[in-house]
Amino acid sequence: MSNQNEENLKDLFEKFLDPGDAEKAAEDIYKAEQYLRENPAPGPADTLIAGIKAGVSQAVLHRRKVNLYRKLAYQMVAAAAAIIVLVSVTARLTEKNTPEKLITASTSSKMIWNDTDLTTLTTEIEQAEDDMLALHTDQNGNGHKDTELTELEINITEIKNNFWKG
């Protein structure tokens, strides 16, 4: 079995020894290996080979299963990672949208006062101004001045309350 790699032992030994010693060393190796060739080791039994082949087939099946599970696990991890990225991106976008929503909310609170309400408020204020003017006009001839003044104050308070209620 030796020399099958076709190494020239003599050349190899000559790198370390002088040519005479190299030749002798190569011969030592060849002759000693001759004993190994002449006394071959026993071979494996057929039953052992059959058993090994069966064991190898099982191991191959096991390896296939392991590879399949590993592939599935990698796919699941990839899917989980994709979901995490998606959720975090969505969360980030939601965070960015939140102040806009607040702004929209505050804007919409301003919009509670629509045109009809403003018209009503303006009318009520004008009414109060008219009443105030009438009081000034009747200042000398009308004895109910105090009562009317109180009513006017109540009206103004009511308008004020309505204003803050929206």
């Binding site: 099958q4 002759k31 000693a32 006394n39 071959p40 026993p42 494996p44 058993g51």
Partner: protein
């Protein structure tokens, strides 16, 4: 198709998980690997176990064989398995010594002597140190070049050459006694 092309095709098949290719690989290498284990252990049962372990490990690790010599990779694995076995045996020996249980050791020795009677070479091999014996068997059964063996053993090629020469010279002397 040449022999090396055939081997390359079988190895590719093995890497793809083809059971038939693994069977072919067992046919190609079982004899050589068994001889390697048998000459190192001198015991058929142990060699059977180590050979089975080698091929199961081969299925598990074939993916790690990337280029280079397949024989180099296979016999490196075989060598690791053998040294693992030796370490395990050493641990068991210590355990028995601690427990004072010598009966197990005696039976192992008897088994070994029975095997040793099979051929003179095996008896003489026992007289060599384990490292030298392993190197001789690696050279003989793997067919690796000295360069590959030196790389596998992480030592200079001159050291490998010198160790092998010394070991084989000693073996020759023992066989000629």
């Amino acid at each position: 198709m040449s022999k090396s092309d055939d081997l390359a095709r079988i190895i590719i098949g093995c890497k793809n998980g083809d059971s038939e290719c693994f069977s072919q690989l067992v046919d190609v290498y079982a004899g050589r690997c068994y001889g390697y284990f048998y000459r190192l252990t001198g015991n058929k049962e142990i060699s059977d176990d180590l050979l089975s372990e080698l091929f199961v490990k081969m299925v598990e690790k074939i993916g790690s064989q990337k280029g280079g010599s397949f024989e180099g990779w296979l016999f490196k694995t075989a060598s690791n398995i053998f040294y693992d076995y030796l370490r395990d045996k050493q641990r068991q020996k210590k355990l028995f010594e601690i427990k004072g249980n010598q009966s197990e050791l005696k039976s192992t020795k008897t088994e070994r002597l029975e095997d040793e009677k099979i051929d003179k070479l095996q008896v003489q091999l026992k007289k060599l140190d384990m490292d030298t014996k392993e190197l001789i068997m690696l050279r003989f059964y793997s067919g690796l070049s000295f360069k590959e063996m030196a790389d596998m053993r992480s030592e200079p090629i001159g050291t490998t050459l010198s160790k092998l020469h010394r070991g084989l010279k000693k073996l020759r002397e023992l066989m000629e006694q």
